[in-house]
Symmetry: C2
Amino acid sequence: MADVARAAGISTALVSIVIRGVPGASEATRQRVLRIADELGYVPDQRAQKLRQSRSRVLGVTFELQQPFHGDLVEQIYTAAGQQGYEAMISAVAPSRSETTAVNALLRERCEAAILLGSELETEELTRLARRLPTLLVARHTDLSGVGVVRSDDTAGIGLAVDHLVALGHRRIAHIDGAGAPGSSDRRLGFLQAMAGHGLQDTADVLAGGLTETAGAEGMRYLLGRPTPPTAVIAFNDRCASGVLDVLARQGCDVPGEISVVGYDDSRLAKLPHVQMTTVSQNAAELAEAAVTSALALIAGRQPEEVVLTPRLVERATTGPARS
Amino acid sequence: MADVARAAGISTALVSIVIRGVPGASEATRQRVLRIADELGYVPDQRAQKLRQSRSRVLGVTFELQQPFHGDLVEQIYTAAGQQGYEAMISAVAPSRSETTAVNALLRERCEAAILLGSELETEELTRLARRLPTLLVARHTDLSGVGVVRSDDTAGIGLAVDHLVALGHRRIAHIDGAGAPGSSDRRLGFLQAMAGHGLQDTADVLAGGLTETAGAEGMRYLLGRPTPPTAVIAFNDRCASGVLDVLARQGCDVPGEISVVGYDDSRLAKLPHVQMTTVSQNAAELAEAAVTSALALIAGRQPEEVVLTPRLVERATTGPARS
DNA sequence: CTGAAAGCGCTAACAT
DNA sequence: ATGTTAGCGCTTTCAG
């Protein structure tokens, strides 16, 4: 920046004004500075900017590297943050990189708030984090006061899936759940409630699953081994449903002719043209926008709230009338 | 930091010494400062640290949000960078976030080098970037001098796949390629060369594909429409192979009984227990380590090199003897 | 419209 | 072993 100022024969303060695009420089100077900056390949040092400003205008986001739905969310959060004049700084969680590590990286960057996607942080650690920093949980439940939550109504979402299948004539419906994953208990509950609502509590079947293709595949294989397999399966998420579909395809089992399958998330996997999965959409764009808005509200000092969005059923090609 | 110093009754310089764990403080002071820092929840401001130090010790990494193999690489890069005393700062590429945007974010953070995974940046932009910053391309080819490259030998990798299939008795082998994706021309070439090497140039079949499940599915459907479909398919990558496998499963086509399928990358998708895909491994850990090492070499001022790793065939369950 | 000066939180020389 | 000082690159009063 000093170089630019020298080359333009003015002070750095004036360069700063031009670069930031704030009023306070003559048009002539503005043009000249911009040209010189470009020639010199000057890019402002973000660290120095943020350091000087009291507010960093950075939102920290942790996400799981291998979860397609998190990918969707991250993409939308970049956009939503940008629209609000914020920047998103992402920090990945993976088998060899714990959520704690990911969060600490954000802390050191002085983010103004942390947005945790599908966090599995323990209560204690979450509390500690929330004391330091406005914290927002996306797609996870918590009773903790002091922590904001943005999620879609998982119970209702599964209800949508059940209603849809029942309307198609299904009665023996199984749910391969998410084991201990965030949201899994809500979805399990939603399944049981909705089934009971249709008087089908006796043919409601819940299986321990997980959030990977593997869990879905195992669950489906198990179900096919039953004397009377279900005519429809609701998986915990799209990845899990992918595993289910894969097993069915290999067994030569027609979908949806013999068995209907419903996923959850409406992630990339569900939209693939050759898959066309019926799924419950937690509109990523909407969730992301709500997350950013809530995070900014927390930063502004407002009390943490729980924002619950309404999921929507996306009917595609993996569900159909029950075979009598 | 000033708070900690005040609470401990010492200067900030001494606190700094303790926090960084460098020698120059008495054991008693060290203990006390650490305790107080912990009580106060003090976390050093990374921006200020980096700003002050001439070197940021940050490696910037761009990756594609929805590419499982990139996820594998990112995870390993975090580890490899950490081992070398560096930090990885990731910046995602997605349909709504261009590579240029992602790279600019890194530039503003004053990374010491940029590691671009599977970059599709144009020559001109790449050149400009490389002039500003040591730049390393992973899993992509380039003739550009001034840019480091770490990749595995794609030509040889596909050769491995061809050899394997030929040894199993296959003769009619198709390759669904990556269209214009990084690495696709090498793999296409490797396919044709290897087939020719076995005298099979007449039954070598190359189809335009892409790097998604959709491309694989379309390619496979097309191949099945042929009067004499191939007995084996080599896909551009694992995602593409997933699409192929999916179509085959739906058609009730036995894999590997009727058709063998080989992927590329040995990503998460290939390892799924219910998939067990035969694939060519570009060992993510090895690539990541080479990438970090090369990046550091560039930073140290060494000339850009091209590091070519040897791929390895991972035989799993999607390939078998050709049906006569 | 422009410039001088102070300071964001930290570290690195250099004193003591 | 500890403190003092200067300054990383920028923004922000405040004067001119």
